[in-house]
């Protein structure tokens, strides 16, 4: 047992750091780069140019051939530099489905733009009213000559407003016995006539998710991935495929660092004692650091098992549960640090549901704290609620 990084791993870390200093320099760090379509794509393309956009892919399709430990180091350094986390839709979701189950023609057509960012994918899984019961989907795709005609709707579609294409689960055989049967995996151009996108505004005013409606949308049958009615297999593959950084450990460490800086920033407190002189706040930080350390080493142990071929499996539920619990705790500490200045709504959101925002008050860091705390509630809901993750542990690991 040896928990030190090897010389080779240490050299790799230096390589990553050097890349980040150039591609994501200091002036972009510290939440100074707003998340927009262009800013995100700029970063995506820099990683792509360096050949690092899809570390976990097989090398023949554009992967890096890194060990899980290298990926861990890469993720950690990127988080320490405040770089945008890579969105899962292209790299962890549709890409692996296409290179695993797609036709050669599909691989050739879709993989390069998926890697380069020329296609921005979004995910068409959830449907209104279905919640975590994904397989109960009702969006229909009916074969009509060389096309499918798609009718229905998808929801919680993250960043659909930016997307070029959507990968969808659709029902192609409504008469199949079990609800998991008769589902197909379809790639759909978002510019197809009959598609409309309705923004869903979340607490604090963010527009991150959408509902996507399909009304007689014509989709070439060439866009079917794999076999008709076998979509559930690919969907399950996708759900269990990429677990790297599922716990968000690196982002949480980085957030704690920022929180400690804020809590010690004398300018914010003047003659009053700073938050770092408040024993209760210090205790909360220390507890979180200790819990985060336990989580980090649990993830490292899981990565090591993966590296030695053991696979991750249902243990990933542990990482998801604990990771999201800690992210939520940290977002609450930020809110507490903002104090009264957590209350004002002063974000420029540019959509009609947002209440009027007229003035800028309080310290910069405080502006987003409440909205972020609200937004982080999603982490224990999306991707299978934490209740469902506990069901999985009980069933799959403990055999209950």
């Amino acid at each position: 047992m040896d928990l030190k990084f090897s010389d080779r791993e240490e050299a790799f870390r230096q390589e990553v750091k050097a890349f980040l200093d150039e591609a994501w320099p200091a002036e972009k760090r510290g939440s100074k780069t707003e998340f927009t379509r262009d800013n995100y794509l700029d970063w995506h393309r820099k990683l792509h140019a360096r050949g690092w956009i899809a570390p976990a892919w097989p090398e023949e399709y554009g992967g890096t051939g890194w060990t899980p430990t290298q990926r861990y180091i890469f993720d950690k350094e990127c988080a320490a530099a405040d770089a945008f986390p890579i969105l899962p839709f292209n790299i962890s979701m549709v890409g692996p489905v296409i290179y695993t189950f797609g036709s050669d023609e599909q691989k050739e057509r879709f993989l390069p733009p998926t890697l380069s960012g020329d296609i921005w994918w979004c995910q068409g899984y959830s449907e209104p009213g279905a919640g975590s019961d994904l397989a109960s989907l009702r969006t229909r795709a009916v074969r009509d000559g060389d096309d499918y005609i798609v009718n229905g709707s998808k929801t919680w579609t993250t960043l659909a407003q930016y997307a070029d294409w959507i990968f969808c689960l659709v029902r192609t055989d409504p008469n199949a016995g079990k609800k998991q049967q008769g589902i197909s995996f379809l790639l759909i151009d978002m510019k197809s006539p009959g598609i409309t996108v309705r923004p869903i505004i979340t607490l604090g005013g963010d527009h991150e998710v959408n509902e996507v409606f399909f009304e007689n949308v014509r989709v070439p049958a060439d866009n079917l991935v794999g076999q008709e009615n076998q979509g559930w297999t690919y969907a399950k593959f996708l759900l269990t495929h990429e677990r790297s950084n599922i716990a968000g450990v690196h982002q949480s460490w980085r957030a704690l660092d920022r929180l400690k800086q804020i809590a010690a920033d004398k300018d914010l407190y003047g003659d009053a004692p700073s938050l770092m002189e408040d024993a209760d706040f210090v205790r909360r930080i220390a507890e979180t650091e200790i819990d985060l350390t336990a989580l980090e080493f649990t993830e490292l142990r899981a990565l090591a098992r993966e590296e030695s071929g053991g696979g991750m499996g249902p243990e990933s539920s542990l990482l998801k549960i604990r990771g999201t619990e800690i992210q939520q705790r940290i977002s609450h500490m930020f809110l507490d640090a903002a104090g009264t200045y957590g209350l004002p709504f002063q974000r420029e959101l540019g959509h009609k549901e947002a209440p009027p925002s007229n003035s800028q008050v309080g310290p910069d860091f405080a502006v987003e704290t409440a909205a972020r705390y609200f937004n982080m509630r999603k982490t224990t809901i999306y991707g299978g609620t934490n209740e469902i993750q506990r069901n999985i542990i009980a069933k799959m690991i403990l055999g209950l």
């Binding site: 009053a272 004692p273 009027p356 409440a370 705390y373 609200f374």
Partner: protein, 379 residues
């Protein structure tokens, strides 16, 4: 001991509850919080007609001679309906001070409040005061009988709507001295007053108030404003305890309803034992919150130390349990819980902000420890 409400109190509860059901549903509220004004003066007038603004004041000032229990009844109902109209700053915060000070200022302003004609705000916080009421950097300079205020007051509820503000400012002493603080009446329309207005994230009209030689009238005794301020803020906390109870009970109802309707894997969510236990815990939190609100209300008129202890206790408790109920309610609503499209998220946001308002759980926990002598140090 007697926990019963009087017939008059039951009447207030019923008429207010009926009015809000009819006129202040989720959609109506949504229009108000997205409007430029951020409140509905017509609703305000109708609430005044119901007698709401007159509740705690003396008959001589056009009031109904009510007490803390009446405020509790009102606040719980306002909480249930998530009302953003400025009742707390006007009637509870400013009203408590005017009533305590009495004299001509009370004679002039209370009838206007009671009649629904005047909205007020209490400007006590500052950018670096955090939750310490005695941390006052704003200065009051006396020239003749008049005062001129200079400073920056943070997050003043109702500031953009108010006809008058009560502002804490220092005539004497260092930034964090308990002595030397006065309370002043300021007209926000006057020269030297700038209101940087905004909406709070949970939908209330508020603003920062910048004072630059702003003309002001002293109310109460010079240098002894802190006791009045503490009284008003404790009254505010106690009112919030009742409001949080209303929020929590409504969140529990909404969650019970939602989980009964919503099926997953062919079974209503409400049949999952884990969710049942969470809702049982939400119910218990609501009941205990109510108990704390009742207790603090009964001590709202007690001597300052007893009142302060009761308020601090209640604030710790509603902060903790309000967070629990709000988070649980959102979690059980799943994705729908975090959209602006369902009421539950708005309850959750307001419950969260009620923890921050007047000082969060950690702050009042510390305050309780100091007041009870459990903790001796000043750190």
């Amino acid at each position: 001991m007697n926990f019963d409400l009087t017939d008059e109190q039951e009447m207030i509860r019923e008429s207010l509850s009926r009015f809000l059901r009819d006129r202040y549903d989720f959609e109506a509220r949504g229009k108000i919080i997205r409007s430029e004004a951020g409140w509905n003066p017509e609703v305000w007038g109708q609430l005044a007609e119901l007698g709401l603004m007159a509740v705690p004041f003396a008959e001589a000032h056009g009031g109904l001679d009510g007490g803390p229990t009446d405020i509790m009844v009102v606040m719980e109902e306002l909480g249930r309906a998530l009302v953003v109209e400025p009742y707390l700053p006007t009637v509870v915060l400013a009203g408590s001070i005017l009533q305590a000070v009495g004299g001509t200022v009370a004679e002039e302003l209370i009838p206007q409040i009671a009649g629904g004609e005047l909205v007020m705000g209490l400007a006590y916080a500052e950018p670096r005061s955090r939750y310490d009421l005695f941390h006052v950097e704003t200065t009051a300079e006396k020239t003749g009988d008049a005062y001129a205020l200079a400073g920056h007051k943070s997050v003043v509820l109702a500031a953009p709507l108010a006809g008058r503000l009560i502002v804490s400012a220092r005539t004497d002493g260092g930034t964090r001295d308990r002595d030397g603080i006065g309370l002043f009446l300021v007209d926000p329309q006057a020269d030297g007053v700038t209101v940087k207005d905004y909406r709070t994230i949970d939908g209330f009209a508020a603003g920062d108030v910048i004072l630059d030689k702003a003309p002001a009238t002293l109310i109460g005794t010079q240098g002894e404003g802190l006791a009045l301020l503490e009284m008003a803020v404790d009254r505010g906390i106690i009112a919030c305890a009742a409001e949080m109870t209303g929020l929590a009970k409504r969140m529990t109802e909404l969650t019970v309803d939602y989980t009964r309707q919503r099926e997953q894997f062919g079974v209503p969510l409400s049949k999952q034992q884990v969710l049942q236990h969470t809702m049982a815990d939400m119910f218990m939190a609501g009941e205990e919150m109510k108990s704390m609100a009742v207790r603090a209300t009964a001590l709202a008129d007690a001597d300052p130390e007893e009142r302060a202890k009761a308020a601090a206790m209640a604030k710790v408790f509603i902060g903790k349990t309000g967070k629990f109920v709000g988070e649980a309610a959102v979690q059980l609503h799943g994705g729908m819980g975090i959209t602006e499209e369902m009421a539950i998220g708005h309850y959750f946001m307001h419950a969260t902000m009620l923890d921050t308002l007047f000082g969060n759980r950690d702050y009042h926990q510390r305050r309780y420890e100091m007041l009870t002598g459990l903790r001796k140090d000043a750190a």
